[in-house]
Symmetry: C2
Subunit: 162 residues, 2 copies
């Protein structure tokens, strides 16, 4: 009969939720720090750039700047700057939208797609290693618990419900 060390017996549910939140934060921050370091040291890039490339890779025809910022849940101004940099590096480009002269589609270039394929494979490998303690069964159980959180307070758009 083994009880987690930091789980006091009479702990209220509220305190228990606070504890698991701190653990969630620590896990995600730890993994994210490692991913950022790998992207910087092994590929000379950053997580925001990877995120944008990842989004654009999912939409080969490109994404309007505003759709990109909605999809990534960051500000419009933010994606403007990131796409600017990717464009300077020849990894992305903007194409005009014929029927709406305000809008632009951001797309990956061939070079950008190739660079992303490489990054994506390594990224998956890094995550696979960082989560190598989790079995398939663990992954499903963890996923189910996260769904409870997501379904309750984050709707499809990722915004907090109500």
């Amino acid at each position: 009969m083994k009880t987690p060390a930091q789980a006091p017996k009479g702990e209220t549910l509220s305190k228990a939720r606070l504890r698991v939140w701190l653990k969630l934060l620590k896990s995600v921050n730890g993994i994210e720090t490692e991913i950022r370091r790998n992207l910087r040291d092994r590929h000379g890039t950053t997580l925001p750039r990877f995120d944008v490339m990842s989004a654009l890779a999912r939409f080969p025809d490109g994404l309007k700047m505003s759709d990109l910022s909605t999809y990534l849940k960051v500000s419009n101004g933010n994606v403007t700057g990131i796409v600017d940099k990717l464009t300077e590096e020849g990894l992305a480009l903007r194409v005009a939208v014929p029927e709406d002269r305000r809008a632009q589609m951001a797309r990956l270039t061939a070079k950008g797609r190739a660079a992303f394929e490489e990054l994506a494979q390594h990224h998956e490998d890094w995550i696979n290693t960082l989560l190598d303690g989790l079995t398939a069964r663990d992954v499903e159980a963890l996923s189910a618990h996260l769904d409870i959180i997501l379904d309750r307070h984050m709707d499809e758009d990722g915004r907090d419900a109500q």
Copy 2:
């Protein structure tokens, strides 16, 4: 026999881990965004300030600046700026360390302690609401899965092992 919608049958373990990582990230980012908004709109403060106050509240005698940055896993320069701001607001102060003139202890003032008590209670309430879908049993199960991740790649200092 119900299968999670996004879990393809023949999915490799590596892909499954990648999926759960993205879900972890989405959950934490969603909660963190809500906490930041609450701190800003309802208390006129920020998450980094709350984190520093929370650390100092745990150590009534104060913490050396370097211990504070180690504890919070942020850079030295970062805590310098945050403690500067808290000090300007009368919530924290720096006291000299007699035996080492290089070092300083950061401490909460009485005002800082009072402000933190208020913040901490609200913070716990917010988390309790955001995680209200999780039962005590869910919390323990989730906690156990996070321990697997933390034990495997984040040691006590929070740095990635090996």
